[in-house]
Symmetry: C2
């Protein structure tokens, strides 16, 4: 089996996708993160859901977590206004996590070895420089435990 | 809204759960990881799917990733035998990732602040020292984007 057969569809966004739209995509599909592609459809980075949460937490709470206890649930109220007019590019951390990439003809062992080395739960599968899908760690485990 | 209302059911395993059973749970539910509890049901750690993948990759491939290309797909064949007789305890890394915990009465902002600080995609919700569920980053984003 090769990367192409292991890959599954995975939602991608571009650097210029509307931030609120991207967050709704994360939320509605309950994804741990989104794959971000550049304007040519090539892999750019990963936007983890936890990074978006980080973006939404007021900076004074990030600086002093004890303030979280005393403020009165302003998060939901502020989310829409905080994200309006922003793009995915602005949600990404300054040094965004690089998206690990495997080739469409890589073997199960190659994919597993990359995931293991980088301790990453998600790799993109690329053919002719374009993303054709993604493989999660749990998908890989499904393949190797159901193959027998 | 508080942790108790935000929490969702999340599969847990104990340190003595059969390793193959735990891996099948990860795979069949497509989970990014499992919550590991001790024998009193208290949070112990997280077993990430990528850690299990790491466990399955032969050590000579971990040492020299270029070998992954030349070996002939032994992974699926070896999984069952490699996991037989082992427990979750033996799958965990030597220093397992601590499971972040929130209280059942913590607010959305407190949960978000913890996730943001630890950059973790999953927290356990605890009441009377027992886990009553978990909150993922995408669940939290769902709550704060659909609340309006």
């Amino acid at each position: 089996m090769h990367g192409e057969q292991m890959a599954e569809e995975f939602p991608t966004v571009s650097l210029t996708t509307d931030a609120l739209e991207a967050v709704r995509l994360l939320a509605s599909h309950r994804l741990p993160g989104l794959i971000v592609v550049d304007d040519k459809g090539r892999p750019h980075s990963v936007l983890p859901a936890s990074q978006v949460v980080r973006f939404l937490v007021p900076s004074y709470v990030q600086d002093d977590p004890s303030l979280a206890r005393v403020i009165d649930e302003p998060l939901a109220d502020q989310v829409a206004s905080k994200l309006t007019g922003l793009t995915v590019r602005q949600l990404l951390p300054t040094e965004p996590a690089e998206l690990p990439v495997v080739n469409f003809d890589d073997t199960v062992v190659e994919v597993a070895a990359l995931m293991a080395r980088l301790r990453c739960p998600l790799v993109a599968v690329v053919k002719d420089q374009e993303i054709i899908g993604a493989i999660t760690a749990s998908r890989l485990l499904e393949l190797v435990t159901s193959a027998r």
